[in-house]
Amino acid sequence: MNGHRMTGLERREARAAYGFLAPALFLFVVFVAIPVVAAVLLSFTRYDIFHRPVWIGFDNYRNLMRDEVFHQSLVNTAFYAACTIIPGMTLSLALALILNAKLRGITFYRAAYYLPVVTSLVAVAMIWMWMLQPTSGLINQGLANFWEPFVRWLGGALNTVSFGLIGDTLMKYQAPQPSWLGTPTGIISVGRYPLSLTLQAIVMVALWAGLGWNMVIFLAGLQGIPTHLYESAMLDGAGPWQRFLNITWPLLKPTTFFIFVTAVIGASQVFGTVYVMTNGGPNNTTTTIVHQIFQNAFAFLKMGYASAMAFVLFLIVFAVSMFNWIFLRGESDYGL
């Protein structure tokens, strides 16, 4: 092609290289490339494992367009992503900044915040299910225990400043005892799809469980920033906020970009917490795209339809990743 003829040594080296690559390449082709191509082809068929696939063209995709449960899963996944990615990253960064300080016993705190990441997802989900139980759960018990002293104090305070009616009414108002995992309604809706209290509870669990992972990556990013930059800035009279804005944030950009991209992909594929805690209910208000793929593939054995869903998910993740790559990636290392 460029006119260069390989020497004997180069040919031997190339053969050796391909030899070393072969096992990994073989596994990749067998377990990744072929299944991916097969899944795309299956998405144009009706296939239930027990009968031969039947080619149905774009029927599965047409059905997706009018499948209300799938639309609900798209809305739920988008809501989950919106509530976990940016808020989760913000909290993780804040935590990483705190834990980056040279304080006594800091290693303990770092380990403690990382603990949910190494805990089994099922165990985490089960513990939260107990905590969110409506009557005996820790959260509602806590609400009940703090509520009465709080309203009594507030009501009393209002009474003393001549707002007796408001104070008395407030004191009669009982502590909310929500059914965290059994309420299919919520204050906000997207079209006809409610963003239920149950979905919000799952978001809360996901935020807690994911905090440690992002925190550790931010921490690694923070520790890669040379300290002399901070020292110079301090000599120039820069305050903590200015140091964060002009040194930490720009130099963390590659880390932030990496976390953002992986968080988007992770949020798009959320499944485990939903499957264990609610199995998509109540009333499909916590079902997600991957939960729908699982449900259709393994409960209803609609492999073709599930493959179509998987392909749509791939397109969404690909589009978002490309957007991130093109618009959010940037020079950010100050030439270090």
């Binding site: 027990f50 409506p134 059994g182 299919p184 209910g281 393994f298």
Partner: protein, 416 residues
């Protein structure tokens, strides 16, 4: 020497292969069931037929995955147990063997309770044998109804609403501490089906090719269910949690009445403190047009891929032989679905078992045996909940979903 070793090895292999084995998967079991099968029922069979029964005790949570994988991989069991909703998909996917040919030499099949037998039939063919049943009837607190001067038991929907309202108990803050009627909010679709059938409606048209639940009867049934929650408020939509761990609401005195299977009685005997089983009654659920008891029957199927068809059938016959069937059901408090079992010591001597038995025999109905049932059920749950939570009107919700069911069935028919 190597030749001798090889000969011994081959001889050993040969001897091993002469002992025939048969694989059995059981899903409904407890320790007593396992002991009964392992120590009595299966050894009897092994002795009689000179075979080894390799039994696996599974749980419902993994059954579907395990069955799918084993069938797809061609390593399915010879005989396996499945639930009340499986016959349509099992027959359509060719997983369960058609057993018509065995019926003429097996008069026992006429002894099964019709609703239980319907569970194993589809398209006029037999695909299994019923193994245990759990009918859902109205279980009510006789004592509370009598002291409130209510008709015992309530017979009509109107009487039911009245008693539900009167027996509902609130605390000082207005929270429900005892529901007038417990409606199993997690399974509104199931309650809707009962109401639909009671109101003279059907889930599907007689040819099972189109949805029929959006008929006038269906809309009335769903409206009644929505009204119980939203207008009469006999039960909160999210239900009420059990006051004590593992104690169901009825046994814990937290509901006055419920449509539920025989385990309600077992739990009253085990857990109830404020009342006894003498304060309880069972009856068909109150109805508008006809009394209905939904019957859930688990059954035994023979795998279509078995190479031991005759032996597998012998095993099914052995397991469902009246004495074995009754003993098996007794270990788990289920109802043996044979009419002749009504006079067994187990049924006669267990509180309310005879009543449950008679109600199942007289008013029993089972779910439609169509291949798409699991998917239809998932969608029906959604449609019913949409109406219950006010996202759509009952008519709109049922009409919308009926279109999807029609399309679902049509898709299968286009493939055939």
């Amino acid at each position: 020497m190597p030749c001798l070793a090889l000969a011994v090895l081959l001889a050993g292999c040969g001897r091993k292969s002469t002992v025939q084995s048969i694989d059995l998967w059981i899903v409904d079991w407890n320790v007593d069931t396992r002991d009964l099968l392992n120590n009595t029922i299966l050894p009897d069979f092994e002795k009689k037929h000179g075979v080894k029964v390799r039994v696996q005790y599974l749980d419902w949570g993994h059954l579907d995955e395990k069955l799918t994988i084993s069938f797809a991989g061609g390593v399915q069991p010879d005989v396996f147990q499945v639930g009340a909703e499986y016959v349509g998909s099992m027959a359509y996917r060719g997983q369960a063997m058609m057993l018509d040919e065995f019926m003429k030499d097996w008069p026992q099949h006429k002894d099964f309770i019709p609703a239980a037998w319907d569970t194993v039939c589809t398209g006029g063919h037999v695909y299994g044998v019923p193994y245990l049943s759990a009918p859902r009837v109205l279980v009510y607190r006789k004592d509370l109804m009598q002291s409130a001067g209510l008709p015992v038991p309530p017979r009509t929907w109107d009487e039911w609403v009245t008693s539900g309202l009167k027996l509902r108990k609130l605390n000082a803050r207005g929270n429900v501490v005892r529901t007038g009627i417990n409606l199993s909010s997690g399974a509104n679709w199931s309650t809707f089906i009962t109401f639909l059938w009671q109101n003279g409606g059907e889930l599907l048209t007689p040819d099972e090719r189109r949805a029929a639940f959006n008929s006038q009867e269906g809309v009335e049934a769903l409206t009644f269910l929505c009204d119980l929650y939203n207008k009469h408020k006999v039960c909160p939509r999210e239900g009420i949690p059990s006051a004590a761990a593992n104690v169901p609401l009825f046994a814990g005195g937290q509901t006055a009445q419920e449509i539920i299977n025989q385990f309600a009685i077992k739990n009253v005997i085990k857990y109830a403190k404020e009342f006894t089983v003498d304060d309880v009654g069972v009856a068909p659920a109150p109805y508008s047009k006809r009394p209905v008891v939904t019957v859930w029957t688990d059954w035994l199927a023979i795998s279509s891929g078995t190479k031991k068809k005759e032996l597998a059938w012998e095993l099914v016959k052995h397991l469902t032989r009246p004495d074995n069937l009754i003993k098996y059901n007794e270990t788990q408090y289920f109802l043996p679905p044979l009419r002749s079992a009504r006079n067994s010591d187990y049924v006669r001597n267990t509180p309310f078992m005879t009543e449950y038995f008679d109600l199942m025999d007289k008013y029993g109905m089972s779910l439609p045996p169509i291949p798409e049932w699991f998917e239809i059920r998932a969608g029906l749950r959604n449609a019913v909940d949409q109406a219950v939570y006010g996202a759509k009107t009952p008519k709109q919700s049922l009409d919308d979903y009926a279109k999807q069911v029609d399309e679902l069935i049509a898709q299968r028919e286009r493939t055939l």
